[in-house]
Amino acid sequence: MAHIVATLPEMQRAALAAAYDQAVAARRRQLLLGFSVFLVALGIAVIGAEVNPVMFWNKLGNFTSYFDRLLTLDAGGRVWTHPSDWFWGIKRWLRLLGETALIAYVGTLSGAFIAFCACFLASRNLVHSATLRLVVRRVLELLRTVPDLVFAMVFVVAFGLGPLPGVLALTLHSAGTLGKLFTEVVESIDMRPVEGVRASGGSWLSQVRFGAVPQVLSNFASYALLRLEINFRGAAVIGFVGAGGIGEDLLIAIRKFYYQDVSAMLVLIVVAVMLLDMISERLRHRLLALEGGR
């Protein structure tokens, strides 16, 4: 087969090739510049975080041996050879795990409720007063930026030790994150039902109730479920500051080197998180199907 490739006249081709080379070189320069900025920042971060590669290399053996110890019973032997020894505290741990789940559940639901009330006030398409919107948005932003553990630390002082400060911390933090997501959902709704209610003389509340809410509920539920997954992980460590759940026992076990207890609790947490993720994923797919069928 003969190759027939029509080429441009030399002059035209040279000009185009030069332009192409220039464009590529510019991109390459930009990339190189970005990369060197990144490297400099990395260098500063390495110094700031007191990274010590030699020490890391020397102690890396500790990491593997740590897991080796995690999987060894105090009496000797691998943990899975005597599951009843390994999970000797299963009753207490399961109760604490249940408490953790309840903290996450109650916190998420209360947070979702606050977010539900706030999101309509923060939506551009439902509220005309810019000040009201701004205030609600700023409050939600504040709630979302303060980490839940910081809330928990403050609440432990105010409300005393126990699950209550944990629940309140998760409530506030979820209200902030869910509030933002809910607002985005509300701002993307179809406005015709809302206008229909308004045209027939409905008050603002009935516009929201009959125009907006039916469109957003399944989306809200799906976001709340996603938040529940995140909050369960959060609730597992919120006990580190004394706010209930399995975290406190875990912290003590890690600090005091009760290796087999640490691994047993970690296994329980991982299994519980995976179960919850699985259930919640199923439910969310159902909810999405509901959305599609509408």
Binding site: N52, V154, R233
Partner: protein, 279 residues
């Protein structure tokens, strides 16, 4: 007027009854959710009385927080240094996570690695790593490399590696097949397909995902100090423990400002990266 009303009503009488807004299974679900919520309140010993009593103490605390102040100039510089350390932890952790996640993401992508077993194992391993919170990883790493920010960076790298690898593998799986087939039809090998067909498509998205993780990591890095893994969290938990509310408020304010600043910068960078012509 009354005529219109009557006509309207007469018309309404002919209409089918309005659809029921509440279905029976819906009611059951709502009931179950509410009942478990109330049970939770009882089991967790949450009573309005306790909340009200706590709130009066809380307002006291909030009142004592104003005006936020670092206490002394000495403390101010210490706190600023700790903030820098926090950012360093987040940056380092995210960078390390991204570097490790890149090959893992390709391993876990269905369209790159054909082995089902390998694909499944990578995914499960990452899920396991991800389901353990950063704070727990921090405690584990403290046992390995000792107290300090290095343990924090490693903890963030651990959790994020798994999360980023998962996101990356999903991105790779949804990549456009056109460029890949182009490279294949031009006689490119497996590596050439990845280098010229896949990477140009996915790299900008990866970079933006990594930036997003960096944003959220600045938040996690602020609390990682609570367990002794470096950064501003150590001082924050200390100030709360000794009830120095003004200084605690100052630290919280510092965190809020820096998180907001990083959000703005990262959003700019992300849109710049995504806007860059790919190829």
């Amino acid at each position: 007027m009354s005529g219109i009303r009557v006509g309207f009503l007469a018309h309404a009488a002919e209409m089918p009854p309005p659809p029921r807004t509440f279905s029976v299974p819906g009611m059951v679900i709502v009931g179950a959710v509410l009942i478990s919520y109330l049970t939770g309140l009882v089991v967790l010993d949450i009573s309005p009385l306790r909340i009200i009593a706590g709130f009066s103490r809380l307002t006291d605390i909030v009142r004592q927080m104003f005006p936020p102040s670092p206490g002394s100039m000495d403390h101010f510089w210490t706190y600023l240094g700790a903030l820098g350390q926090t950012l360093a932890i987040a940056f380092l952790g995210t960078s390390a996570a991204a570097v490790v996640a890149l090959p893992l993401g390709f391993l876990a992508a269905r369209n790159v690695v054909a082995g089902r077993v390998l694909h499944f194992l990578t995914r499960r391993a990452m899920d396991t790593v991800r389901s353990v919170d950063t704070l727990i990883w921090a405690l584990i790493w403290i046992n390995v490399v000792g107290l300090g920010p290095f343990a924090g960076a490693l903890a963030i790298a651990c959790t994020d590696m798994a999360g980023l690898a998962k996101l990356m593998s999903e991105t790779i799986e949804t990549a456009d097949n056109g460029p890949i087939e182009g490279v294949l039809s031009a006689g490119g090998g497996r590596l050439a397909v990845i280098r010229f067909g896949l990477l140009p498509q996915v790299l900008p998205i990866f970079a933006s995902q990594a930036l997003y993780f960096f944003e959220s990591n600045t938040r996690s890095a602020t609390i990682i100090g609570i367990v002794g893994a470096g950064g501003i969290g150590l001082y924050l938990s200390e100030m709360i423990r000794v009830l120095e509310w003004q200084e605690a408020a100052f630290l919280i304010l510092l965190v809020l400002i820096s998180v907001a600043a990083i959000d703005v910068v990262s959003r700019r960078l992300r849109s710049a990266i995504m806007g860059m012509p790919r190829g």
